[in-house]
Amino acid sequence: DTAVSQTPKYLVTQMGNDKSIKCEQNLGHDTMYWYKQDSKKFLKIMFSYNNKELIINETVPNRFSPKSPDKAHLNLHINSLELGDSAVYFCASSQGGLVIYEQYFGPGTRLTVT
């Protein structure tokens, strides 16, 4: 059973389009994250949700809008896609709070904007 899954795995689209990436976890975790990994493999957190509430928003452009319909799902919608949005987007989950639990990552979605 896949612990953290993302769809689609690959996404190729043109500038100006709107696209969504979906994430689901079956680990029973209460906290989910979106990370962006750029072409140099640098990994940076974008958002975090705890129990469907946004708790971290790391100065990401407003074109990016996360939505968490329930604790097991965290989707990422991107409006007006730009060339610089091309990257691999990873979803992750963990138990939240200040206790130090490891995060479990999905396989990633490679977004290419042409």
Binding site: V4, Y33, F42, L43, L98, E102, Y104, F105, G108
Partner: protein, 115 residues
């Protein structure tokens, strides 16, 4: 601000030899440190973490890491490298944000193990 640094972009080692991937940290307060591995076209996988206690932490796939407070380091080690260990390795530190924990990652170190 909490941060980690991985000084090497790439580490090359022959199969069967010991390997070390370096990480240094800069934190205020107690450091909570992690190592993750990323195989090609895959997500990150947790290897091990240091929270408190023994300075030598054992993790998955035969990896271990040594926490050194005086040198502010948390180097990843393995006594005998395998070709299948070739991957991208990330060091990370816990960062507190809005009362919750998240991770700040280093830039990654590519490990190449030759046969």
């Amino acid at each position: 601000a909490q941060s980690v640094a991985q000084p090497e972009d790439q580490v090359n080692v022959a199969e069967g030899n010991p390997l070390t991937v370096k990480c240094t940290y800069s934190v205020s307060g107690n450091p909570y440190l992690f190592w993750y591995v990323q195989y090609p076209n895959r997500g990150l996988q947790f290897l091990l973490k240091y929270i408190t206690g023994d300075n030598l932490v054992k993790g998955s796939y035969g990896f271990e890491a040594e926490f050194n407070k005086s040198q502010t380091s948390f180097h990843l080690k393995k006594p005998s490298a395998l070709v299948s260990d070739s991957a991208l390795y990330f060091c990370a530190v816990r960062t507190e944000n809005s009362g919750y924990s998240t991770l700040t990652f280093g830039k990654g170190t590519m490990l190449l193990v030759s046969p």
